[in-house]
Each structure stands twice: as structure tokens, then as C-alpha cells.
Assembly symmetry: C2
Homo-oligomer: 366 residues x 2
């Protein structure tokens, strides 16, 4: 078989897929089990309460054998009636907008520049027109490191009547504060390969009754991401379709680990890693290396930071020089590829581990 | 972490997920790699030609992070224009029909009893009305062990003009003869967890230009299973969405193994396991144990056999007694659960390995 060059968990700082602890990877070697058997029900029964704790919900948490993009599609097919307002401030919120259009819905984009976030006031103005029944928004924009004020945006949505807020928290959940029920998020989804630090291939979502009611009225909501099917099957701790069994074994290992750390302690650790990254940028500037964080203070995600490169550098050059020193980070995303790089300080990394990476980056810019 | 009771590969005969060789499972412990990096391109570049050999195609093979149900949805969203004819002869072909309806298409079911197969003549009659633009059909019905004559059905579809045949070969491909290009299958899909003997969580599909042309004309074909996105990304050996990286490592190991065995040798091994199963049923009848294969000779899948139980038995009782002896098989599916059991003789099992299971089953019925 082909041998692919890889890096150990401790040196892998992409903003997704993130490094996965060897103990979690090892779980995937568990022999196969059926998917309509008591063993599977037992496994899902173990996973569910832990996932609910992480999401801050008493509702069932859907476990989809797909990437998060699949549940973004599910969000609009189940939760939007006719006309969607998409809050766009980066590549993934733009994708959410395109997904609405690609599923036959009307959708308008409300855009702010990449790196900026949306404000409740502007959303309020847009919704007051009364034409939108759903809002799509990205909590933590992996492409820019911006963190939208989801809780406040949800309040504004609900103040405007029967408007569902559909939240992509792909690089947010399990790293940045979020409480699905308390914040009244009509639907919130995430992927396994970001702050959860599980290999990619799973997506998780929680819908409130508001979205299920919409789903019931939509006869063309499809099958694979049909929320009513997820609900029905989870009553018996099952999944509508064949689950990715090996990934569920990894997930079971990891949700227990996360719950043992404590979700608030996990948020605090992510905040500390982010703060350390910001201080490092200051230190570099003090040395004359003109780095700049794309997103203004107060609007930053604790899980990923996008940093503009100084004159004479490109994103790919920073990544390549870092890789030559045995560490992985990412370039900027899309149109920011050449002018920036991104550090994923999320998942199971520690401030001490991050310190090693920052030492290497300091050397890169020396 | 929770400990789930499992059985080794050699004792695991479900008709999916099937037993996976330990070498394939072990590959999933490979550390993470990014999904827009040269390592991923290299990995997919290794997988693609081997997958194409297995499918009998020169076209790119989509690798979807989903179960096969996802690509069934993709099949109708991309490949059907308005009105679908669903050939139904079991639970999964019925599901294909429901998927067409759930995606806003018109769809009629042409049904034969569970365990029977469809004939070219009857399909020809149905298509001659000229109202259908697509046919959905299941190659190997995992719920019954019936094998539809896909090649002949495809000929009839094309004889009737611009009709696309959309084929679910979930428990067929890599176990039963199929050549995507030579048989002119407009779209054919399968899952990783059947005759491929890879853990569940991946689905594979091949579309001909006929289906891509349809996709181009459909603006509501969605995002996650958008065939044009798969095509575009595969030009650079990439995937539209984050792939299930760990499962791709397992897949790379297994496609090389399959190609080394040789696809025709693999088909022959499956046929030999099926024949051995039929002989065992005859032997049991000779001893007075009234077992009966659901599907008539000539219409049977080489990968799965559904067997009716004698008076005094139920499907669950056979499964339970087999399990007490350390082997896994399945009950009948859905409405056949109580009256039958199923043996999955597919993937990497051998006739010798199957012989052990049949010995145990003989003991069960003693």
C-alpha cells in the first residue's frame, strides 16, 4: 500500500481536519458490528447523553455520516420555508447561501467584508421587512477566524416572529461557548473534525421543535438529511442510514474525554490558546515582523486565527517553511490564500503544545 | 470508554456492514492529513485507478462521505428529469422509489414480489408508454438476495430513447459481475461496507455523460451530492467536501487488495461461496430440515442468501443460536424478519471460512 507522509498529533495545527489523539485513532480498529443490533444501540446510547452535554441541549443530537456540508443542506431543506436571509462574512457562510439557492429556495445574502462579523442591529433592520422565514449564519468562520454573536443574532431573529435561525458552528462547537437550548438556536450543526478532534466523516446537529414543524410541512425535504427520520430513529438510539461504525467508536472515546475535561474548561483552554496566539503576534510586531490578525479584537474565534503576512511573504511560503520544520498550519482560505496563514488552535491541543508551534513560527520569520 | 462486544472478521457474516480484515481496520489509525494538500491528492490519485478497475470504467469514481443512501438521493436529484419508474422487488428498491418522491419527482413503482426479479420484457412494456425519463433499480437486493439482470434492463431502457438507468449495486459491486461502461449504466453506485469489505461511511458512484447533461439542466440538484462538483474536484484528485480521511486510508489498502486478487477472481470466489450455501440448504433438506431459499435459482445474488426457516423457528431465533456459538448472521429484513435469516457471503470471506459458519448452522438446526 501507498505510504503517505504524516505528522504526529502534537505537530498538526490545521484549522480542520485537526490532529486526532492516537487513543482516538486506535479505537477505529475495533472489529465491525451491525447497525440494527443491540451493540449499536448500546454504543449510540453511550454517545447521546455526552453529545447533549456538549451541545447544551436536552434534545437528541443527530449523528450524520457526512461532512458538515451535508447538515447545512439538511438545515435549509428542513428548516427554511421559502425565503432565506444568509449572513455572509467568509467562505463558509457564502457556501451556506449557495446551498439554499441550490435547493430551490429564494435566498438573499447580507454581506460584510471577510474578517468582520454581523451585528444584531443590521439583522434586525433586514428582518423587519418581514419577507424572510429563515436566517443562515456561521458561528466561527473557519476561513477568517471571525466569531459571530450567535446568541444575540438568535434573539433578534425570534423578536421578528416566525424566523428560524440555522447555525453552522463547524469550527465553533466544543471550542467556543454555545448552548443550543438556552440560546434558542432553531438548528445548530457541527462537524467531527474541528474542535471535537475526531476524524472527519461525521456531522452533528440539534433541531428544536420549530424546525421539525417546518420539516413536517415540506414534502420535498429529501431523505438522507431528513430530520424527521433522524428524530424517529434516535428514539431507539439508532440512525436512519448505515452509520460510519468505526467513526462512532472514535466518537465514543472522544465525547467521554470532552465531558471529563468539562465543556467550560474546554472553552477556557481554547480561549487561552487564542490569547497566546494574539500575544505572539504582538511580540512579532515588537520585533519588527509586521503580522496582522485579520479579524478585529472582540470579533475573534477562540479556535482559529487568520494572520496577514508581512511584505515579501505569502501564505503558502509560511506554510512551506513551517512544514520544513515539521509542523502543519494552513494558508489563508480562497481569496486570502496568498496574503495570510491560519493556525487551528483547537481540539485537544494545549497552550504548551501551541507554544512549540509559535517557537517554530518565530524561527520561520527570523 | 464503553466496551462493546465484538466478533473477529472470520466469524462475522452479516450482509453489511461486513467483516473487515484487521489490516484494513489498522490503516485507520494513520495520523490525520489535510484535505487540500498534496498528500490527499496523492492518496486519491492512488485510489482512483483501482476504483475504476473495480467498476469497469474509464470515468472518475465519486467517493462520497456518506452511506449509499446519499448517492441514491444524488442519483435522482442529478439524473432524473421529471418522471421516474422505480423497479421494486425488496426493501432497498422500495427505498429508491421513496427517495425519488421525497425529492419532489413524480415516481411510479413497478413491483414484483420480494425475492423475485424484474424482466426486460415487462420493463419494455412500461417504458413504451414514453412517459418516464429515468429508471431506478437495485442490482443485488440485500433484503432478499435477488439479483436483477441489470445489463439487460439497461439495454431495454436505452432502446426506449432518452431514459437513464440509475443503478444501486450496494451489495453487488465488487462481488457480482458488473461493468459500468460496457453495460452502459448511466449511473451506478455502491457502498463501502458490502462486497468492498471496507468499514461503512463511504459511497462510490460513476456517472456517464448522459447523467451529467441532465445535472447541468437542474438548478435545484443540491450541493452535497452534486455530481458536477464531484466531477470538477476529481479532475485534481480532490473531493467537493471534507472527505472521511481515515476511511480513505482503509479504502486505499483495500482497493489494492481487490485489484491484486483480480475482479474476475473475486466474482468467482463470491459465486463459489453462494453455490456452497445453496448446497448446504440441499444437504439440510436431505436431513429433514426444511430450509428454503427465498429467491428462485437463476435470480440469486452471489453475495447474500435469504433462507426461510422451518416450522418452529424464527429468524431471530436462528440468529441468536448462531451468535451463542460465536458467529454473526442476520435475520430476514423488514416483513421477512420472523420467517427468514440471511447470510452475507461477501467481501473477503472464503469458501473455507463459510464452511465453518455452515457447520455451526448445521449444529443450530440439529
Amino acid at each position: 500500500m501507498i505510504e503517505i507522509e504524516t505528522l504526529p498529533f502534537s505537530r498538526f495545527f490545521l484549522p480542520g481536519p485537526v490532529g486526532v489523539r492516537p487513543e482516538v485513532l486506535a479505537r477505529m480498529a475495533t472489529p465491525m458490528i451491525g447497525h440494527r443490533v443491540p451493540e449499536m444501540v448500546e454504543l449510540m446510547g453511550y454517545i447521546q447523553p455526552r453529545l447533549r452535554t456538549i451541545f447544551g441541549t436536552t434534545r437528541p443530537v443527530y449523528v450524520s455520516a457526512s461532512s458538515a456540508t451535508g447538515l447545512m443542506e439538511g438545515a435549509v431543506r428542513n428548516g427554511a420555508r421559502r425565503h432565506v436571509l444568509s449572513l455572509v462574512n467568509g467562505a463558509f457562510s457564502e457556501r451556506f447561501h449557495r446551498i439554499a439557492l441550490a435547493n430551490g429556495l429564494k435566498a438573499d445574502a447580507l454581506e460584510v467584508p471577510w474578517g468582520q462579523v454581523h451585528t444584531p442591529d443590521v439583522l434586525d433592520d433586514a428582518l423587519r421587512r418581514g419577507i424572510y422565514d429563515a436566517v443562515t449564519v456561521v458561528h466561527s468562520e473557519t476561513s477568517t477566524g471571525a466569531l459571530n454573536p450567535i446568541r444575540e443574532l438568535a434573539e433578534v431573529a425570534h423578536k421578528n416572529g416566525d424566523v428560524a435561525i440555522l447555525v453552522d458552528s463547524v469550527s465553533g462547537l466544543a471550542g467556543a461557548p454555545l448552548r443550543a437550548d438556552e440560546w434558542s438556536l432553531d438548528f445548530v450543526l457541527t462537524g467531527s473534525q474541528k474542535a471535537f478532534a475526531v476524524p472527519p466523516g461525521l456531522a452533528f446537529g440539534v433541531a428544536q421543535e420549530s424546525v421539525l414543524e417546518r420539516a413536517r410541512s415540506k414534502t420535498d425535504r429529501g431523505t438522507y438529511f431528513d430530520f424527521l427520520e433522524f428524530e424517529k430513529n434516535l428514539e431507539g438510539n439508532q440512525t436512519p442510514n448505515t452509520p460510519a461504525v468505526s467513526l462512532l467508536f472514535a466518537l465514543a472515546e472522544q465525547v467521554e474525554y470532552i465531558v471529563r475535561e468539562g465543556i467550560e474548561a474546554r472553552w477556557a483552554r481554547h480561549a487561552a490558546m487564542a490569547e497566546r496566539t494574539y500575544r505572539w503576534v504582538d511580540e512579532m510586531n515588537a520585533r519588527g515582523v509586521k503580522l496582522e490578525i485579520l479579524t478585529p479584537a472582540g470579533a475573534r474565534s477562540p479556535t482559529v486565527t487568520c494572520i496577514r503576512v508581512p511584505t515579501g511573504w505569502t501564505g503558502p511560503k509560511v506554510v512551506e517553511e513551517t512544514r520544513r520544520r515539521g509542523f502543519a498550519i494552513a494558508t489563508g482560505y480562497g481569496k486570502l490564500k496568498d496574503v495570510s496563514f491560519r493556525i487551528g488552535h483547537m481540539g485537544d491541543h494545549s497552550v504548551a503544545g501551541l507554544e512549540e508551534l509559535l517557537g517554530v513560527l518565530t524561527d520561520v520569520f527570523r
